[in-house]
Symmetry: C2
DNA sequence: ACCAATAGATAGCAGCACTATCGACAGTGG
DNA sequence: CCACTGTCGATAGTGCTGCTATCTATTGGT
């Protein structure tokens, strides 16, 4: 198929497709002439993958390139593909490194949960950075809630992996599954969390501010 | 205090502080002379809040402005502050709108969970967009896992709100708590999810690919 | 034969988050 | 009193990212 058809089927502008090929997000199409190439169904699904990572996952182009490289390299095992996807996720790159105390807190949490984890896991630094932000705001009560969050995270992780193992025999397919699941999973959990937050906020009827009847007046705006 | 002290205490360059004041992320300091102003402790904590939202939460400046405006406006109730924080989170703005079928699936999930939620909730569109990305990749099995994710999301949401109600009497303090909790909570859950993923992947020993012994050879790299 | 479409290369552009520079002045040590 | 460092506010500039526009040589379709 030609570029216009690929563009139409993926909802992506031809110029953008060319750009993706240049950037290595999309493999070059097979040449059939001086100015004719032939895109395949493989390109369609790869383009869908790229757009999902960019649009829904919010990944920058460079990260997407790293991820698809891991998917395409048959020498990369599923665990490493998952690692690549994890490292690709937008994770506090401009931020200062996490403090040792927060790192220690996270590591203690990991131990308390009975988790086994290597040092390189980016989640550790990310969680520690969150704790740092929290204490910088003068709050400390988050530590008590950590096990609750950790338990929820484990439930999510089990659901994640339950979706991968079924077709673990097909390496390419499951590599894609791992990537999409890891990246889009963050967005899914975040979205569901927003819905659940509103539900819980409405359900537990917070005595909508016990002692300060001011400012409750403004007409209810959808949260 | 003068700008250099504020810069030092917050780890932010003076030029950046000036920029934030211009952009309305930080209130202007009180003038004490032609070229002398006096920053307060309030500025320190506000700057910490802004940096946390930017560095850890990854929010763009414009979103941070909207969030702090909601926090500062005493006429904005806590529910609306939470709504502002939710809408501020990076959520698929460049992406195409979610398909009706995915929206319907999310709404059915919401009903099945017994959740009550208004139309404007950005989580619905976000979750639907994730489903769209998923089906665009030719996978449909995600729907079966949705209730699992929803349950985990509710656990998280309950933990979120349990941290807010305690000091719901202090509107300003709890407004900050809501914002930081909503924004940093996403990052925290995401980080813990990465750790849990690695743990579960190692613990359940995926029979590391049942029928395809190829490509397992590369030396174990920390995922 | 004609014309729209294509490939590939290069240049340009808009947005974002800062950062650098400037001129006028203030506060402080000597 | 006076040099000198620090400060304020304003404006302009920078580096990066993610495309988009333009150009030329060529080609398939009618």
């Amino acid at each position: 198929m030609r570029i216009s058809e690929l563009a139409e089927r993926s909802g992506t502008a031809p110029a953008t497709i060319k750009f993706y090929v240049r950037e290595g997000l999309l493999p070059p199409a097979e040449k059939t002439g001086y100015n004719q190439v032939s895109y395949t169904e493989e390109h369609v699904r790869r383009l869908h993958l790229v757009r999902a990572l960019v649009d829904v996952g919010g990944l920058p182009i460079a990260r997407v390139r790293a991820v698809v490289a891991a998917v395409d390299d048959p020498g990369t095992g599923l665990q490493e593909v998952m690692g690549a996807a994890q490292r690709a996720l937008p994770g506090r790159e401009g931020a200062p490194p996490p403090s040792p105390s927060s790192l220690a807190a996270v590591e203690e949490l990991v131990r308390a949960q009975g988790w086994a984890v290597l040092d390189g896991n980016p989640g550790v630094a990310q969680a520690a950075a969150v704790l740092d932000g929290w204490v910088a705001m003068g709050r400390k009560d988050l530590f008590d809630s950590l096990p609750e969050y950790a338990r929820a995270a484990e439930v999510v992780a089990r659901a994640d992996l339950a979706r991968v193992w079924p077709d673990a025999a097909d390496r390419d397919r499951s590599a894609e599954t791992v990537v999409v699941g890891t990246v889009l999973g963050d967005a899914l959990v975040a979205g569901l969390r927003r819905i659940a937050q509103e539900h819980v906020a409405r359900a537990t009827r917070p005595t909508t501010r016990p002692a300060t009847p001011t400012a409750t007046s403004t007409p209810e705006e959808p949260s």
